[in-house]
């Protein structure tokens, strides 16, 4: 990420701000989060635990998948330290079925984290071209091309197109053009979309929606927001993420990729504030967009699945903590309650901007 920043002709003040924020983070301890005691949700159709940044523990019934696993305290050659500790410790993870890596940037592919997961991970999926960035591991590692699917224990994982860079070190941008992807996770009729990191690409999102018309939850990045000339070519802000959510025709959206590392100049809470403003402007119901704190969990009960956006959020901090994190609805009870019904738009979306 540092190299990426250095190699993109950022204004000196922006670069200085990012460097300063990272130096401060290096000298500080990551903010503690209160973690859930039990992350497994028996009876839930889908449960998403935000571990931080792009790391989500996805439960679909009895299957568990980790996305972009980052559990180390630093990324990018120990340069960038996390601002907030992880939402779950590695030793408290349930038995995993799979891990997915969306692309090769240091905040998404963490070799140190994979070391920690090595004994509990059976298989890792990478985008096409990703294998050259992989050391020897004991778990199986496989590349998946766009629109190709892999099946494991009833799970069907498909690589779906996104718009992002696949390189890791900078100079490899000259030849590493394919190793960035989104993922579609399907199991027993439930569907979860994970975007990884992406810019707004209407064509890609509509093509994905055409192939996967029943997306239950879309996990979408909403940062970095600023500066736009750096962020927009490869990242979604809140408004664009909402547009992607509409394009995908998903029932629920869970935002990610914010307030975990100092990878931009956005102050804490800025990305979610922008998301809320865009939700109001675009008239998107708060029942459909679930902003989690790190360590918080979104649970979609089986009973609520077919009827629309009925879901619940669990926070280790309870409702007070949820309010502090700015989420609209939290409860700390079991995954059974439902909220209210709303209808979905029949057309894919309104045009972006």
């Amino acid at each position: 990420m540092l190299l990426l920043l250095l190699l993109t002709s950022l204004p000196a003040c922006v670069l200085t701000t990012i460097l300063r924020r990272n130096v401060v983070a290096l000298l500080s301890k990551p903010r503690r989060v209160q973690r859930l005691e039990h992350v497994e949700r028996p009876g839930a159709a889908i449960a998403l635990l935000w571990v931080g940044h792009a790391t989500m523990l996805v439960q679909i019934e009895d299957r568990f998948i980790l996305t972009d696993p980052v559990f180390t305290e630093t990324v990018g050659g120990a340069f960038s330290r996390r601002l907030v500790e992880t939402g779950i410790a590695v030793e408290n993870l349930p038995a995993l079925d799979l891990a997915l890596v969306s692309h090769m940037h240091f905040d998404h592919l963490s070799l140190g984290s994979l070391d920690r997961l090595e004994s509990r991970l059976p298989q890792l999926l990478l985008p096409q071209g990703g294998l050259v960035y992989m050391p020897r591991y004991h778990f199986a590692v496989d590349e998946v091309k766009t629109w190709q699917s892999v099946e494991r224990r009833g799970l069907r994982i498909t690589a779906v197109p996104v718009r992002h860079e696949g390189f890791r070190y900078g100079a490899d941008a000259a030849w590493m053009t394919t190793s960035a992807t989104g993922w579609m996770l399907q199991y027993r009729g439930k569907t979860v979309y994970f975007a990884g990191d992406t810019a707004y690409d209407r064509k890609a999102f509509l093509a994905t929606a055409a192939r996967f018309p029943q997306i239950d939850v879309a996990i979408l990045p909403i940062a970095p927001v600023e500066p736009p000339n750096f962020a927009r070519p490869s990242h979604l802000d809140g408004r664009e993420a909402l547009q992607a959510f509409l394009d995908l025709r998903a029932k629920h959206m869970v935002p990610m990729h914010f307030d975990t590392f100092a990878h931009g100049i956005d102050p804490k809470g800025y990305a979610t504030r922008k998301l809320r403003e865009a939700m109001q402007e675009m008239g998107i119901d708060e029942e459909r967009v679930h902003i989690l704190p790190i360590g918080g969990q979104f649970v979609l009960p089986e009973a609520a699945r077919g009827e629309g956006p009925q879901a619940q959020l669990s926070s280790p901090l309870g409702s007070a903590g949820a309010a502090r994190e700015g989420s609209s609805r939290f409860s700390s009870g079991p995954a059974a309650a439902s909220v209210r019904r709303t209808s979905f738009p029949s057309s894919p979306s309104t045009p972006l901007r």
Partner: protein
Amino acid sequence: MAALSLLLWTQGRVRAESMESAPSPKLSWLWLGTQWLPSPEVALGSEGSMVGLRWQITPLLYTFGLDPRVARWRSFIVEPLARHAGSIELYAAPELFLGSDGAFLLRPGMRVYLPLVEHGEALSASLGISYQRIRESDAAALELGLYFLFGILGVQVSHTPAQRNPAQTILTFSLRYF
């Protein structure tokens, strides 16, 4: 220079065992530009101390730290992980010592990289041997290195036990990108 250009152009062909889908490194302006960045160094020897600059090229490298399905051979363009996750490198290092008694040194050598933290991306070490000839003085040198931040930053110490050598011990602050 023509030979070097030819080698650069054809270097991808060394990757004979490469996976069918694996993209091959390509020459880029960014890579080419960064190869001119020198590493500062200080030499201590029979004539006192000298300040110098070192450049490094890798005609051939065998990596043993990557996934077994990935091609093992690299030539000139070497990704940091391929080098620092574990590799054996044949290198050539032109070195220029500055000052009125300046000297030029061309050092061919071989080096083994070993990963220490996060498969070498955060920290790796090297052990090497090289031949150096400076002001009619021939010697074999042993070298130790330590590298951080994907190998971009590092420290190398080379030492030759030969007497009356103008560059008996060289301390290099290694700056290397790819």
